[in-house]
Symmetry: C2
Subunit: 468 residues, 2 copies
């Protein structure tokens, strides 16, 4: 929206590109005779702290489309919505890239403790779960405090039983507890099936205490027939633990009727800010359009879609960048990264020089990680310096990307991770509670400011961003 000229910014980049890597410019030291290298960036960054584009996108997508599960009519509606929005914002080359995939759809889902203390429990099926049949399933429950306890019992030993797997996940700023405790969801159902279990219920992979269970995809290994697999809300799982503490046999009734709805269409939405120098390569930024069906996918990932779109729009409005910025709004991330894979297959031979993903909510960015060629070190230094006023420190480990750019990361393409604060993320992740009211507008704006800063520098840098 604001038009801020890039001329004072471009000059030092040109000078720096002439030979040996330039010393990283500082925000305070300005060499005599040169314009302050980051002065244009600073103005864009400060303007982005007043951004209203991102919240408008989140509001529109979550209100006018709402839940948008992969390979459904709602996800198709999200693509149409996004195309219209991106065109109205002035992006170029806005289009849908469709692909086909198997569609898993939720059915009925209820659970009741039958004995010793009859009461209803809040439950939701995991993505790819098998079904109980319409009459449901009633069986004795075997309690495993951790996934390791489930792994320890012999194959076939749980015949006719429902496995209940708990865990002790706590919030972490970097989200690292998800990998550790998430195993109960990612792999637990497959393990329980191998042990002969009739079904599995897990404590939701979440850190909240609300009666809103967390769904999410699970993977059954090849050759293992899917069993009904579901997550109890954290309070319900704790209730079941208390029930088990009485030492009496525990029986659960479970009704889960999800199904695979054949092969359906999904797709990615692409938009571009065309760069002035096609030989400088493409910067691909991504978030995902699909969401789980329980909430409206505000933090997962309407906010990512909104942040990258708002930032790209701000860079576009500031003048033509050197590199093309390609906004890739992925489909079907939640159920296995189908959109990211389809994009990679279709575009891997184009000159991508940098990718970055926003898919960890809407809370503030606290750290930036890079995976860059050595010769691009001045660029990462300039980016880190320009992010510092936003309270963002530079990390020491290499950027790892996310589900929708991981194949580029593995292929050695430069990557930047603008790490969001994940302390609250797993309170809401994959639940009915993932709604717009959970977004703090100020933190969302800080994200837009960080992305605007990063993209401005990366898209205009004269340095090479790719190993030769």
């Amino acid at each position: 929206m604001q038009k801020i000229g890039l001329i004072p910014l471009a000059l030092p980049f040109l000078l720096a590109a002439t030979g040996a890597p330039a010393a990283p410019p500082s925000l305070t030291e300005v060499p005599a005779g040169r314009a302050a290298p980051e002065s244009g960036v600073a103005a864009l960054r400060e303007a982005a702290l007043k951004d209203d584009i991102a919240m408008d996108i989140v509001e529109g997508l979550t209100t006018e489309v709402g839940p948008r599960p992969a390979a459904t009519a709602q996800e198709a509606k999200a693509r149409e919505w996004a195309v219209a929005k991106l065109k109205s914002l002035g992006f170029s080359n806005v289009h849908i890239e469709p692909y086909s995939m198997p569609a898993w759809v939720r059915g009925e889902e209820t659970a009741s403790l039958i004995s010793p203390f009859p009461q209803k429990l809040a439950i939701t099926a995991l993505g790819n779960s098998g079904a109980t049949g319409k009459k449901g399933l009633q069986a004795e429950v075997v309690y495993f405090p951790t996934i390791a306890d489930l792994q320890a019992v012999p194959d076939g030993s749980l015949k006719g039983k429902i496995a209940f797997v708990s865990h002790a996940m706590k919030p972490t700023q970097d989200g690292s507890s998800y990998g550790e405790y998430g195993t109960a969801r990612f792999a637990g159902p497959g393990i329980a099936a191998r042990k002969g279990a009739a079904a599995i219920v897990i404590k939701s992979i979440g850190t909240d205490h609300h009666r809103v269970p967390h769904t999410g995809v699970t993977d059954f290994p090849k050759g293992v027939t899917p069993i009904p697999a579901a997550a109890l809300s954290v309070p319900d799982a704790e209730q079941l633990e208390r029930v088990f503490s009485r030492g009496q046999p525990v029986t659960l009734s479970l009704l889960l009727t999800p199904r695979f709805n054949g092969t359906q269409q999904s797709g990615n939405v692409i938009a571009e800010v065309p760069g002035s120098d096609p030989s400088a390569g493409i910067i691909m930024v991504t978030g995902h359009l699909d969401s789980w069906d329980l909430g409206t996918g505000a933090i997962d990932d309407a906010s990512g879609v909104a942040i990258i779109t708002a930032a790209a729009k701000r860079v576009m409005d500031a003048g033509t960048p050197r590199r093309t910025i390609r906004v890739m709004l992925a489909g079907a991330e939640e159920v296995g990264g189908f959109g990211g894979d389809a994009y990679y297959e279709a575009h891997k031979n184009e000159l991508h020089v940098l990718t970055s993903e926003s898919d960890f909510g809407a809370d503030r960015i606290w750290r930036v990680d890079f995976k860059f060629p050595a010769e691009a070190k001045p660029v990462s230094d300039r980016i880190a310096a320009a992010l510092a006023p936003l309270g963002i420190g530079a990390g020491k480990q290499p950027a790892g990307g996310g589900a929708d750019n991981e194949k580029f990361v593995k292929a050695g393409i430069g990557t930047i991770d603008l790490q969001q604060d994940g302390t609250r993320y797993f309170d809401l992740h994959h639940t009915a509670d993932d709604t717009i009211d959970k977004i703090d507008p100020e933190q969302l704006r800080q994200n837009v400011a960080a992305w605007t800063t990063m993209l401005t520098i990366a898209a205009n840098a004269r340095e090479n961003l790719k190993e030769k």
Copy 2:
């Protein structure tokens, strides 16, 4: 559990009872030749800050019984559970006092926005709601930002429409916002029915932002046929407001199949700490055993049941008090105070000198209010002084009691309100989220300490506690 003799406590009470009201004793000034009047109380109070009886009761009732809606088998199970618990704690005269009442039971409940933006909404029927029939109801929605806006339209003008009533309730420490904004629930359905509406949905009378709608009873005036009446969760109601902001016609599909299940049995559970002086009258303390069906009724009102029981147990274990303390665990509070009314009718001719209710969660007590005869002023002064170390100030308005002692309050019986902090109460009230994990054990113990303090002084006071 601790045995703390009451002799040093009783002596000044005896002296104080001889004629003119004594000056309120202070915790610091001890008249020469007398034991410190509150020294026994102070020790009981401090011991109660380490209480584990109350949490044990909440844990047992919410785990082993769980939800206990009025006039259901679950509520009957709660009575049996309470009788066993009260007997095991050593109370006297433990028994059930049954009564009959109409039983309203929840059925299926779903809601979907049909147009302009199809999506599911989280909804729950209000107590006494009518039903849509098994095929549900689909109709245009008319939005009323406040209950006053609904009241303003002509009778009959909403024929065939669904009324949607919102509000702007915010948390208050004293819970006073419930009365103001709660009108949308208490009276809204009756008003909507008069206006001709086919159904009504309201924004939950709650202050949280979770997808857990708040139920609660509504009253249809005599002669008004009940219509389907339900509450959307706060995020869902806000979503509907955003949808209305687009200016397009809004259609909702509603399925609500609650019904009245005829006349069923409910009952109160009574237990006593017998006093040494029957002429000194009864102190009746009350909380309610029933709960809404959506959660396990941990804060509403297992905690009240637990607090008064734990405090009475502590007073009992300290020695026989002068007055009988009667613990009255009411049935059917949620649906209209049937238990409190039945108790009043059965016992109104007994000499009650003081009643007090705990039914506002488990957070700390911050204020004490009294409604006492003038001659008992020294007693209220001593209670206020002994509560001060717990961070409890004395209020200036008279105590008003609650649903289960209100007829005694109206009849002029002395009343003490130990006011709990209600700031979080309406985040959880009448929702699936009312579970034990929401209770802060330290604040629950402060409640027990305050009640133990109040009961010790009131049950042993030599002053008359009733107008003559």
